[in-house]
């Protein structure tokens, strides 16, 4: 750290090394926010893998028993279809279990899957509390709130993303819509929805886990079975969110990724240069 120099020393530099200019940065994310963000990666993976293993024991989506195989599970049907049509999978030993063998811990391990699911669920709740604490103490929650102009702005961003590949291919200039907010409308919609999905996942999880003690919670989601449906589809929200999220972060560049790891961003273009 350099300190203020006494006036009489200013004209007599003691070092011959040139001074480096400073870099203007903004603290884009509170450290609790980016810590909990990364913690969620293994936790959500554990929840999904163990959750699908749990689903195997009593699938939500079933049909009348197949006359040939006696199968009632839609997920097993998908596995059979994959083994019949996807190259390289024709000789798979257990087509009924294809989905469970590839997207979960595996079939037939309900007890272990439940224990792992609960462990991850408690960690997920802790991580959620840390995330909210980071949002509150860093003031980042304001950036996530929806705005009146979001619908129009979302359409502009959607148009931008649709046209971007064609503009690249045809070497045309394709201007990024300008916003004076931390996130654009699409980002805001996604980042606002995911914490809500997290909250609903926890709530539906409790409704399924303790349907007698928390009967009112189960009733709020339409009963035990409907709460299971909610819980199942909320998982898909994470999966459907993560894929474009990762692609867009890499597309947006180094600074965006780094800011989620370090917290700082050197993109000071929006509003931050202080003018008094």
């Amino acid at each position: 750290m350099s300190h203020s120099t006494p006036p009489d020393c200013e004209s007599k530099p003691t070092s011959t090394l040139p001074e480096q200019p400073g870099v203007l940065v903004v603290r884009k994310h509170h450290f609790l926010v980016h810590w909990s963000h990364w913690l969620n990666v293994p936790i959500l993976l554990g929840l999904i893998l163990s959750g699908i293993s749990t689903y195997w024991a009593s699938p939500i989506y079933q049909h009348k028993a197949d006359p040939n195989k006696g199968n009632t599970d839609v997920a097993a049907d998908i596995g059979i279809w994959i083994c019949a049509h996807v190259p390289g999978q024709h000789h798979y030993s257990s087509p009924l279990d294809w989905i469970y063998n590839h997207m979960s811990l595996g079939p037939g391990m309900l007890a272990l899957a439940l224990r792992l699911h609960w462990l991850c669920a408690y960690l997920f709740m802790l991580s959620g509390i840390v995330y909210v604490a980071g949002l509150v103490s860093g003031g980042g929650w304001r950036s996530l709130l929806p705005r009146r102009t979001d619908l129009l702005d979302a359409l502009r961003m959607f148009r931008y993303y649709l046209g971007f590949p064609f503009a690249k291919l045809t070497r045309h200039k394709w201007l990024h819509p300008r916003f004076s907010t931390k996130y654009n409308a699409l980002q805001r919609a996604a980042y606002f929805s995911v914490p809500i999905a997290g909250f609903l996942s926890v709530a539906t999880g409790w409704a399924i886990h303790k349907p007698m003690q928390l009967y009112w919670l189960a009733a709020l989601f339409g009963g035990y079975n409907t709460a299971r449906v909610w819980h199942f589809w909320l998982m898909w929200i994470y999966i459907l969110f993560v894929v474009p999220h990762v692609i867009l972060v890499f597309a947006d560049g180094w600074d965006t990724l780094r800011s989620m790891i370090v917290g700082w961003s050197t993109r000071v273009e929006r509003s931050e240069v202080v003018v008094k």
Binding site: V26, M212, Q213, V268, R270
Partner: protein, 197 residues
């Protein structure tokens, strides 16, 4: 990739293009970030969150993208040829209104140090997550993905049982004698639809 942001060629505060608001302009002064700095753990910063009275937003000549301060510095000559439009002052309108983030000037080496430290921490965390995966996953699952070596450590059961104990404690706290599972008649019983059959 925005590699220019690593700090070495970032814009000097003095080189921010004119916006037409110079009479009142005050940019966060840079404390000298000389190479003699030896304690990079603390950002050399002047943070002025309360001083945000006006906001300026430099605009490229084509108006396409706002100029990032992290971009290549411009000379005064080039800056003067750029159409620069000051953006109106936007004080937070309400409690829910988004606040502009205060800019902080940081020595490039501090930024590099912090970036390196946090990336290493993330890498260590990723390795710990992979190790944790090996620790918690059932042996059958590990065998299916190619780890045939027995990786069933003794602490695993203890750890998972601890988590189960926490869950039992929660169940106990939620228990109420007035809430019981209803008793069903035989005619209400339906066939089990599970994959155990």
């Amino acid at each position: 990739m925005n590699d220019k942001e690593n700090g070495d060629d970032s814009l000097k505060p003095q080189q921010i293009p004119s916006t037409g608001v110079e009479p009142k302009q005050e940019i966060a002064e840079s404390p000298e970030a000389g190479p003699e700095d030896t304690s990079p753990s603390v950002p050399i910063a002047i943070e002025k969150p309360d001083a945000v009275e006006a906001i300026k937003q430099p605009v490229d000549a084509d108006g396409s993208r706002p100029l990032s301060v992290g971009h290549e510095p411009r000379t005064d000559e080039s800056a003067s040829s750029v159409a620069v439009k000051p953006v109106s002052v936007k004080k937070p309108q309400s409690f829910f209104g988004e606040r502009p983030l205060p800019a902080i000037e940081m020595a490039p080496r501090v930024l590099r140090y912090q970036s390196r430290r946090d990336f290493l921490a993330l890498g260590a965390g990723a390795l710990a997550a992979v190790a944790g995966t090996g620790f918690f996953l059932p042996q059958d699952t590990l065998s299916r993905i190619g780890f045939h070596q027995n990786m069933d450590p003794p602490g695993k059961e203890w750890f998972l049982n601890k988590a189960l104990r926490v869950d039992d404690d929660v169940a106990e706290a939620l228990y109420s004698g007035t809430r019981r599972v209803p008793t069903y008649t035989k005619s209400q019983i339906t066939s089990l639809k599970n994959n155990y059959n």
